[in-house]
Amino acid sequence: MPTAVPPVRGLRIPGAHPWLRFALRRTGRLLVSLWVLVTASFLMIHLVPGDPVRAALGLTAPADLVLARKRELGLLDPLWRQYADFLTGLFHGEMGVSISSRLPVAETIAQRLPATAALAVSAFLLSMLVAVPVGVVMAVLTRRGRRRRAELAFTGTSVVLGAIPDFLLAVGLVYLLAVQTNLFPVAGRDGLGSYVLPVLALAIGPAAVLSRIVRVEMLAVLEADYIRTARAKRLTALRIHLAHALPNAVTATLTLGGLLLSSLVAGTVLVENVFAWPGLGSSIVSSIVAKDYPLVQGTVLVYGVGVLLINTVVDVALALLDPRSTIGEG
């Protein structure tokens, strides 16, 4: 139980210390996870059974070409040397050269990342913008067993929408809004209209799941003692719901929102393939099929770093919103 801060005059801001501890702890966790990610993506090429270069170039490739490519990739060096080269390369922003296109991996990624990021971020924003208001309104309308029918309709719809995977939604949306009605382009990235279908396909599921979570969180918060206190202060219903309930409901929502955002990042892979979106998702699949390991390695690394950064940002946001839970721990 947090107790009162000792009333020492002159010694200001007793909070600085825990914040520093939090920063250290969180940075430590980020670094360790990064190390695991980097090492795993380094080892990936070595875990492939058989000869990866032979597999990439095909059985008919001449032996000296395979050997030359191996030397080029550094696969003939001792493992520790390869690992050290890999790490130093990363520090300089180099991720090797693609086996098939002979282009630097970093260049290919830099070219394709913006399209993927734009997709993931807009889908995340859309799902948050829909889920929070819908969840809050449904909580207020249906709390304490009111409006049973509205509650059932909402829960049913959100369960079904949340259960359909994004790539199936994508195919359905293409059929309905592109093939049947010609409202939006079927594929490609060309203007704002081309964003509508992929963003919808990515956002609908998370929005459904998240709105249900927001509602449940809001319902729990609305029964809290401090909401009764706010009502005893005779504040308006709007102020009670928005200023007193919402900030407390949003912490859990944010945690799950962060998880959703990182799965959104991964979900772009499938949706990009449906819409032939020129992002990382289409390139990772083609490079896996083509066994272009350096490119796969780089792409996995970029996705992983994206996920780790999102998790860290969510944790920091949580700490700022609810200093007690995060700062107090450990």
């Binding site: 259960a163 199936l168 293409v174 206190t229 202060k233 990042v265 979900g267 796969v296 996995v300 919103l321």
Partner: protein
């Protein structure tokens, strides 16, 4: 029967029905229809739906309907295989801390925690690179990618069970680790594990479809649903059903697993249990009566009804009382006597679906049972009615600083600007003896101690000019020295503001110390009302006497057991016909059990509801 419980629910029936259908098609589909799914019809390449081909044909003229049916087996088998890999690995990793000792366990738990942070699809792609493209590689990849999640779940479950007594007992008895795991731990975590495995199979099915759809899973000439979708997508302009039909199959099969899981969870009692709610019945007619003159609060026949599981619960069953300006009235009674409900009803804080009725409920000239202008009522109650709740730890909003929480009152009702309202909040904190109020106002509630929070809560009530303070067990959760400080502060505040006090407490001695008059409540009714000074000596109701006798004092013989009130309080939904206290009353007779005694006032204005109460208080003097 649990199986019966699963089937009785519509969700369970739908889920298991679908699942049986899917499994049957998976088992017999390839045997029955493989020929029709592979026969090439060159006259109908990429044809639309027709009588021959219900959902058309693919680019080789093969019948898509039968291909979707035949693909069921491969899709389901691969999904189940991947799920099995996840479960086995997950259980091994999750139980590792128990089997391999603490140090190894900690490393594994740490690794699992790092892996869980990455989304499943990313892990799937990672493993797909290692195992290569194809059905077997994809099954391994999906299975391995699902393992960390299962390991986390299993670890939590195992940790929960292994702290139980019987596991500890088995360990102390020298039972080996593996035996403990298989005999004592796993059977006890089996239910949530099965439920989660069922649902996981559904989502594995979906991710497998995704992988095949990307071209990383099942390769031609084999086909599963994902592969069929992939083939159909290119022709979506000409032949949309080729892509949509396998997608629909994926969704149906996924739903079959998920619904079955939900139903199992419900039957195992893991999910929430649906409650039966009843209507509250008809409102009873209320007659308007005049408030007691000179009273800041006048309540006539207050009734509070809550919805119960089987029938409505009458928490407060007709309570009538008044509080004069500046007077302190205490309400005592056991838990469930309706005293807190009375306080909340008086404060107009009881919400739907509970119902509050009264002939009148007049506070400072305004009848709260009559709908009025919400704006002016908010202002009126917000400034002249102060409320102190029982638990100061939970009554402040953890997300806001203390100062703004107080200032809010002045901003909402007194039209003060932010700065002025905050200055008033600091001033009020000083008034309730909080040291360094400027600094404290900037702190969060969790930085305050319980006693300080309760004082801040009183300070919140002082933001306006309270005419009545309702204090619901204000000292119950505080320790004794802090208790007396808070009570002293309440007394001081009343002296300064002239506010009346309604003090709810189960503590007879607190009420006698602080209050002028006492209302004794039992089973939602007032059973006795008398001056607080007379509570120990002149009480007439057997319940009041028992309450007083149960309070130990300096003369209590500590060698003998402390006095208690025999029996248990009535169950609010089951109020007897006669006197509610009869079952516990030493004086009760058949008349008491048959006829509910009315609350009658004597010449001095004291009231009692008891057939056995002596008309003269002198004769009922208690020797406790």
């Amino acid at each position: 029967m649990r199986a019966a419980r699963v089937l009785l629910r519509p969700v369970g029936l739908a889920g298991i029905g679908l699942l049986v259908l899917v499994v049957l098609v998976a088992a017999f589909g390839p045997i029955l229809w493989d020929g029709r799914a592979t026969v090439v019809d060159t006259d109908h390449l990429l044809a639309g739906p027709s009588a021959d081909h219900w959902i058309g044909t693919d680019n080789l003229g093969r019948d898509l309907f039968f291909r979707v049916l035949v693909a069921t087996r491969l899709s389901i088998v691969l999904a189940l295989a991947a799920t099995a890999i996840s479960i086995v690995l997950g259980v091994v990793l999750g139980a590792a801390p128990m089997l391999a000792g603490r140090r190894v366990g900690r490393v594994i738990t740490w690794a699992v925690n790092v892996l869980v942070a990455f989304p499943g699809l990313l892990l799937v792609l990672f493993f797909a690179v290692i195992f290569g493209v194809g059905a077997r590689g994809a099954a391994l990849a999906v299975g391995l990618a699902g393992a960390p999640g299962f390991a986390r779940l299993c670890h939590t479950l195992v940790a929960g069970v292994s702290e139980r007594d019987y596991v500890a007992a088995a360990r102390i008895a020298g039972v080996g680790r593996f035996r403990v795991l298989f005999r004592h731990v796993l059977p006890n975590v089996a239910e949530p594990l099965i439920v989660n495995a069922t649902m996981a199979a559904g989502s594995v099915l979906l991710s497998f479809a995704g992988l095949s759809f990307l071209g990383l899973g099942v390769q031609a000439p084999s086909y599963d649903w994902g592969r069929l979708m992939q083939d159909g997508l290119n022709g979506i302009y000409i032949h949309p059903l080729a892509a949509l039909a396998p997608g629909l199959a994926v969704i149906l099969a996924g739903l079959a697993f998920n619904l079955t899981g939900e139903a199992l969870a419900g039957a195992f009692g893991i999910g929430d249990v649906a409650t039966v709610r009843t209507a509250l019945g008809q409102a009873t007619a209320t007659e308007l009566t005049a408030p007691v003159p000179g009273a800041v609060l006048s309540v006539d026949d207050l009734r509070v009804t809550l919805p119960g599981v089987h029938q409505p619960v009458h928490a407060v069953r007709g309570v009538t009382f008044a509080i004069k300006d500046g007077e302190a009235v205490g309400v005592v009674g056991e838990s469930g006597s309706g005293k807190s409900m009375t306080a909340l009803a008086v404060a107009d804080l009881i919400e739907q679906p509970a119902r509050v009725e009264a002939n009148h409920l007049v506070f400072a000239g305004e009848d709260l049972t009559v709908p009025g202008d919400p704006e002016s009522r908010r202002k009126h109650l917000g400034t002249s009615l102060a409320i102190v709740f029982q638990d100061p730890m939970t009554s402040f909003n953890p997300a806001h600083r203390i100062g703004p929480q107080l200032a809010e009152v002045s901003r909402a009702h007194q039209g003060l600007r932010r700065r002025a309202a905050l200055a008033r909040a600091v001033d009020r904190l000083r008034a309730v003896r909080i040291r360094e109020p400027e600094r404290r106002a900037r702190q969060y509630p969790f930085q305050f101690s319980g006693g300080m929070r309760q004082r801040a809560m009183i300070g919140m009530g002082l933001m306006g000019t309270p005419r009545l303070i309702i204090a619901d067990e204000p000292t119950t959760s505080l320790d004794v020295t802090v208790q007396s400080q808070v009570l002293a502060l309440l007394a001081e505040v009343r002296r300064d503001t002239g506010a009346a006090l309604l003090l709810i407490s189960h503590d007879v001695s607190v009420v006698t110390d602080v209050c002028d008059r006492v209302l004794v409540m039992y089973a939602g009714r007032i059973v006795e009302e008398l001056p607080a000074a007379d509570l120990r000596t002149l009480a007439r109701h057997p319940y009041t006497k028992a309450l007083v006798a149960a309070v130990p004092d300096m003369e209590t013989d500590l060698d003998r057991p402390l006095a208690v009130i025999p029996g248990v309080p009535i169950d609010p939904p089951h109020v007897p016909i006669g006197c509610a206290f009869a079952a516990r009353c030493p004086l009760a007779d058949d008349h008491c059990r048959a006829v509910d005694p009315p609350l009658l006032a004597d010449a001095a204005g004291n009231r009692v509801a008891c057939h056995k109460a002596a008309p003269h208080s002198v004769t009922s003097k208690v020797t406790a």
